[in-house]
């Protein structure tokens, strides 16, 4: 069942040689393509920006998966709700970027509260946690539609509509901005985990809860903190999605699908894998949309998943996942 397996004894992850070689080959392919065709380059950059969003939401899923061993189905809806909060703040007169940072704080509190109120009471049962996150999905959807209605709404564009020209290639400022913000938030999160005591505590709580609590880590609060940080990442993804899809209650549902796929592609345990998986999927989707006639809008999702499943058949634990070895 959904992660019912006992905790793995090892969570260190890293790419194996064939995977790294494959990724290098993909990079070379993209670089050659960009040098040859300007349309290819444009689609690649747009795909990178889209993929960065998938990557940050995928990272949020991975954060929660490492701590709680479940996929949070409500992650996308939480991101959507916090984006509506940012919208409300700009209505009240804040500038986009002020609203952005205030929203991150609110999202953090939101994530912590969700974990403490809804997840903690059921965290001993995996299936119960899954159903609770599905319930949260429906609940948040309903609350947002009730408060703001289902119709499209528009926020001030954070990056403007300018384009940069690089030779014959046109790059939109929005794509570049989205890419930078997403990369920056991932790097900050990585630094938090790598260099701070709280980050160390969170890693310990996720890896060995019992041992961590014996050395004085407050495991429950570390889990709540993880949910808070995941909600912050989701909020970033939501606010970076808004300029391209605009505000509507369903805006994050396809993004969640791709993020789920990205997290699994990366191996679920690996934050780097999730980010790379997100970018790969974003670029792949944009390129097949451009070059494969068969892949019309209806079939894009099935094709993406079919490719993903083929990858998983070859590597059942994702690109950066470790083979689970368990004592029986």
């Amino acid at each position: 069942m959904l992660g019912l397996a006992k905790r793995k004894t090892s969570v260190t992850t890293g790419g194996s040689l064939p995977v790294v070689a494959l990724l290098a080959a993909v990079c070379v392919f993209l670089a050659i393509g960009c040098a040859v065709s300007s349309i290819f380059a444009q689609q690649t950059v747009a795909g990178l920006a889209q993929g960065a969003i998938y990557g940050s939401l995928a990272l949020a899923l991975v954060l929660i998966y490492r701590a709680t061993e479940v996929i949070n189905f409500a992650q996308g809806e939480m991101a959507m709700a916090t984006t509506y909060v940012a919208y409300q703040l700009t209505i009240w007169g804040l500038t986009f970027w002020l609203a952005f940072f205030v929203t991150l704080l609110i999202a953090f509190a939101f994530g912590v509260i969700v974990q403490v109120v809804f997840i903690r009471p059921v965290q001993h049962s995996v299936i119960a946690v899954v159903i609770v996150t599905i319930g949260l999905f429906i609940l948040i959807d309903g609350l947002v539609t009730w408060k703001w209605g289902g119709e499209l709404r528009f926020m001030a564009a954070p990056f403007g509509n300018n384009v940069y020209r690089l030779g014959s290639v046109t790059l939109s400022r929005q794509d570049i901005g989205v890419l930078l913000v997403s990369i920056l938030s991932v790097i900050i999160l990585w630094a938090l985990f790598k260099f701070t005591k709280i980050g160390l505590g969170m890693r310990a709580a996720a890896l060995r809860p019992a041992a961590a609590s014996l050395v004085g880590v407050r495991v429950n609060w570390m889990l709540a903190l993880g949910w808070g940080l995941a909600a912050v990442l989701g909020a970033v993804a939501g606010m970076m999605t808004e300029p391209s899809t605009f505000l509507q209650p369903t805006m994050m549902q396809p993004i969640l699908l791709y993020a789920f796929a990205a997290a699994v592609l990366g191996g679920l345990e690996s934050p780097a894998g999730a980010a790379i998986g997100g970018v790969l999927i974003g670029v792949f989707m944009n390129l097949i949309g451009q070059y494969v006639d068969f892949a019309t809008a209806e079939l894009r999702l099935p094709i993406a998943f079919a490719v993903l499943l083929v990858v998983l058949l070859v590597k059942p634990n994702g690109l950066f996942g470790r083979r689970q070895v368990r004592r029986v």
């Binding site: 899954v130 209806e298 999702l301 099935p302 998943f305």
Partner: protein, 321 residues
């Protein structure tokens, strides 16, 4: 296990009598509502065989329901087949689809299987949009005849009863033991001579076949229309919610789970607190969360908890000891 389970038979007998008499007390609207309960009963039963008994998760049963539903409509349109006869065909087609999905699914487990089935649930409703000349696009297709309310009630509960008996027969013997052994430990099961690939694929096939019949019934209940929107991801999630509320790994709670997901949305719509059409989702979501917090093992967990309490209460009674 060999003696006759008198108590269970009694419960089932009473339920059968109530179900047979009920339609004459109900309006047409409530008869279709009851038919909905029956079709969710079938679907939850199927998911329970897969997830509760053989330990494989699926968030994609809406896909098999879509396959069943479209099978019924296509047979009705092109072959002018009697609607009842389309149900066994749906069963067979969905069974085959389940086997086809179950074979690659052997490579996956846990969250990976969840993603694979999720992908299926998202992908299948896209096909009617792509091949709209044959499958009707987003408007969907409609059966040539629309059954009456009483017909719907009778047929869906007959299906529910048949699938319950079939599941019971399947799960009480060798196959059920193999399923449970696989769920509890694949390695131990394989060492005891259980052929993992065969039984895991079989579980997928049977479960999908149940979902296929439920999908056919769902199409018939919604005036004979098969539309992609009818089989969206929500229906897969609803069935999962129903199975969790019922409790996994036992057949005793299935009816409660079916009642929960069939009736709660309509009940939630009547709650006046929020006073808007969107209040329904808020109430539904809240109740789902509350139920899972209060009963993390579903209705079955509540039942066995009560039984345990009852037994200890009798034991501690000085008169009986």
């Amino acid at each position: 296990m060999r003696h006759l389970p008198v108590r269970q038979l009694l419960v089932i007998g009473v339920a059968a009598v109530v179900l047979a008499l009920l339609p004459f007390q109900l309006s047409g609207y409530h008869q279709t509502l009851a038919a909905r309960v029956a079709l969710y009963f079938v679907a939850i039963l199927g998911l329970n065989i897969l997830t509760g008994y053989s330990g494989q998760i699926s968030i994609g049963h809406g896909a098999f329901m879509a396959i069943g539903g479209y099978t019924t409509v296509l047979l009705s349109i092109h072959q002018d087949l009697n609607l009842i006869l389309t149900l066994p065909v749906s069963f067979a087609v969905a069974f085959a689809a389940g086997i086809l999905v179950g074979i690659p699914a052997l490579r996956f487990s846990g969250v990976y299987l969840a993603l694979a089935t999720f992908a299926l649930a998202v992908s299948v409703p896209q096909f009617p949009l792509k091949f709209s000349t044959f499958l009707g696009g987003s408007n969907g297709l409609r059966t040539t005849v629309t059954p009456s309310y009483l017909w719907l009630y009778g047929v869906s509960w007959a299906c529910a009863a048949a699938s319950f008996v079939l599941a019971w027969l399947l799960l009480r013997g060798r196959i059920g033991r193999a399923f449970r052994a696989i769920r509890d430990s694949e390695v131990a099961a394989a060492s005891s001579g259980v052929a993992l690939p065969i039984y895991k694929t079989l579980a997928f096939g049977v479960s999908a076949a149940y979902a296929g019949v439920a999908g056919s019934l769902l199409v018939l209940v919604t005036n004979g229309y098969a539309q992609p929107g009818l089989f969206g991801i929500l229906v897969s999630l609803q069935i999962l919610i129903g199975a969790a509320v019922a409790g996994l790994g036992s057949l005793r709670g299935v009816l409660v789970g079916a009642l929960f997901i069939a009736l709660l949305p309509t009940v939630a719509a009547d709650v006046p607190v929020i006073g808007s059409t969107h209040g329904q989702d808020v109430v539904f979501g809240l109740i789902v969360i509350l139920v899972m917090i209060l009963l993390p093992n579903g209705f079955v967990g509540l039942l066995s908890g009560l039984e345990r309490w009852f037994k200890t209460a009798i034991k501690s009674d000085p008169k009986t000891s």
